[in-house]
C-alpha cells in the first residue's frame, strides 16, 4: 500500500532530521509497527548504496535463498560448470612447458643479433600513439589540492577526492564550478578538469581546457602542451600530438621535456 501525502511529509521530516526529540521518538514507535514505513525506508536507504556502487546484502529470508540456490544445484548446471572448467584448464594452462632449444655456441652471436632486430621490430608499441598514452596516464604527477587556501576548501577536496575515486563527472562539475566562480587561471584546477575530460573521452573539452592553460599567465602554462599532446595521442592523432610535443621541447624547463624528446625520437 502506498503512503499518503501526510505520511510522506512525516517521513520527510524524520529522514531530514527536522523533528524534535519527542516527535522523533513517537514516530519511531510508529515505524516499528508499520510495514509500509519500513519498506519505504529500506528502499530509500538502499538507493544510496546502489548510487555509490556499494554492493548490498540481501534481506531476504532463507526460503528465497533456498529457491534461488536450487537454480545452481541441478545436474544440468553442474555439467555446464564442468564443461567450462575443462575449457578453462585448456585456456589458462595451455602449453605450460616451454620448448627447450639446444644451441650451438657459435650461433649464439647471430641469434642474439636476430633477437635484437626482432625486438626492435616487435617494439612498435612505443611509437604507437595509444601505447604512448597508456605509458603516461598515471596522473600521479598532479599536485594536491589541499595546499591551496584561497578558495573554498570543501570544493577543492571534492575535486581531488572524486578524481582519485575516478568519479570524473563530479570532478568536472566541481572544478568547473570553482573555475566559474574563482576565475579560470588556476592551473591545478585546469589540469584536474582537463584530465577528467580526457578520461571521459570528451576530447574537445579536454583540448579546450589545456589550451586555456597554455595561453594563461600561469607559470605552469607549458603543462598545457604536454596534456594536449596526451589528448591527441589517446585519439591516435599522431600529427597533432607531434606538433604539441615539439612545443614541449622548445624549452628545457618545460614540463616533461625529456619525455617529449624521447617520444618524438621514437615516432620518427
Amino acid at each position: 500500500m502506498d503512503l499518503n501525502e501526510q505520511e510522506l511529509e512525516k517521513l520527510e521530516r524524520y529522514l531530514l532530521d527536522l523533528m524534535d526529540n519527542e516527535e522523533k521518538l513517537s514516530f519511531e514507535k510508529e515505524i516499528a509497527t508499520s510495514s509500509k514505513f519500513q519498506e519505504f525506508i529500506e528502499i530509500y536507504e538502499r538507493i544510496d548504496h546502489v548510487g555509490r556502487d556499494e554492493w548490498m546484502d540481501t534481506v531476504h529470508g532463507k526460503e528465497d535463498y533456498a529457491e534461488a540456490s536450487q537454480k545452481f544445484e541441478g545436474k544440468e548446471i553442474q555439467e555446464f560448470s564442468e564443461k567450462i572448467r575443462k575449457f578453462e584448464i585448456h585456456h589458462f594452462k595451455s602449453d605450460p612447458t616451454p620448448k627447450v632449444f639446444k644451441l650451438n655456441y657459435k650461433y649464439l652471436g647471430a641469434v642474439a643479433a636476430i633477437l635484437i632486430v626482432l625486438l626492435y621490430v616487435a617494439m612498435p608499441k612505443s611509437s604507437d600513439p595509444s601505447s604512448i598514452f597508456e605509458q603516461h596516464n598515471s596522473w600521479s604527477e598532479l599536485p594536491s589540492m589541499t595546499t591551496k587556501g584561497d578558495i573554498p576548501q570543501d570544493l577543492l577536496l571534492t575535486v581531488e577526492r572524486t578524481f582519485q575515486e575516478k568519479k570524473y563527472d563530479s570532478t568536472i562539475w566541481a572544478s568547473q564550478l570553482l573555475l566559474d566562480t574563482e576565475g579560470d587561471e588556476n592551473s591545478t584546477l585546469l589540469l584536474y578538469l582537463g584530465i577528467s575530460h580526457l578520461e571521459q573521452n570528451n576530447f574537445d573539452q579536454a583540448l579546450e581546457t589545456f589550451k586555456t592553460l597554455s595561453e594563461s599567465t600561469s607559470i605552469d602554462y607549458h603543462k598545457g602542451y604536454w596534456y594536449s599532446a596526451l589528448t591527441y595521442l589517446k585519439q591516435n592523432n599522431k600529427d597533432d600530438a607531434k606538433k604539441m610535443l615539439e612545443l614541449v621541447t622548445l624549452k628545457e624547463n618545460n614540463f616533461r621535456f625529456k619525455e617529449a624528446k624521447e617520444i618524438l625520437n621514437n615516432m620518427d
Binding site: W55, A66, I84
Partner: protein, 183 residues
C-alpha cells in the same frame, strides 16, 4: 561479438568455439578490472566462471533479454567482484562443498536482480534529479549543491533530494521485479 540466438544457444551448450570467443574477448578485460582492484588472477578466474553460470541460469529461465552478450557478461562480472571484494572472505570457493557455493550463487542471483532494478530506475527519474543524486552519492557537500542550483538553503536542497529519492522509491515499488522479489 554475436548477439543472435545461435550464439546464445551455442553458449548454453558450452560449444568450444563459442567459449573460446567469450574467453578471448571478454576475460582479459575482466582480469584487468579485478587485478586493478586488489584481486588476484584466481579471483578473476572464479568470478568469470561464476558469472558464466549466472548467465546460463538466467538465459535458461528466459528471464533475460540480452542486447549485448559481452557487455552483460562484463556487468555481471563487475557486480560479482563488487560483492566479493566488499565482504571479508573467510572461505575459499574451491574448498567448499558445492551446496555452499550454490547458496552463495543463489544470493547473488537475488542481489543482482535487485541491483539491476535500482540502477535501471535511477535512469528513469528526471535529468535534474539524476544530477543532484549523483552529487549526493559522490558525497559532494550540500553547500555546493545549494550554490549550483540556486536553492535558498541546505534544507531546501535536502527536501529536493528527498523528493527525487521518493520518486525512485515509488518507481521501484511499482516494478514487477520488485513485487516478485518481495513475494
Amino acid at each position: 561479438m554475436n548477439n543472435n540466438k545461435e550464439f546464445i544457444q551455442a553458449f548454453l551448450t558450452g560449444e568450444p568455439q563459442t567459449m573460446k570467443v567469450i574467453y578471448a574477448k571478454t576475460y582479459p578485460y575482466v582480469e584487468r578490472y579485478i587485478l586493478s582492484r586488489n584481486g588476484s588472477k584466481k579471483d578473476a578466474e572464479d568470478v568469470f566462471h561464476n558469472s558464466l553460470l549466472h548467465l546460463y541460469v538466467k538465459l535458461k529461465e528466459n528471464s533475460l533479454n540480452i542486447q549485448h552478450f559481452e557487455s552483460y557478461l562484463v556487468t555481471v562480472c563487475k557486480n560479482l567482484w563488487k560483492r566479493e571484494s566488499g565482504k571479508t572472505r573467510v572461505t575459499n570457493i574451491d574448498g567448499l562443498p558445492l551446496v555452499s557455493e550454490s547458496i552463495d550463487m543463489g544470493s547473488f542471483f537475488i542481489e543482482e536482480e535487485q541491483w539491476s532494478l535500482y540502477k535501471e530506475m535511477l535512469k528513469k527519474i528526471s535529468q535534474q534529479c539524476q544530477e543532484i543524486l549523483k552529487l549526493v552519492f559522490d558525497k559532494v557537500g550540500y553547500d555546493a549543491i545549494v550554490k549550483t542550483y540556486g536553492y535558498s538553503s541546505q534544507t531546501v536542497a535536502r527536501q529536493r533530494v528527498f523528493k527525487c529519492k521518493t520518486k525512485l522509491v515509488q518507481l521501484i515499488k511499482k516494478d514487477e521485479r520488485y513485487k516478485r522479489l518481495k513475494n
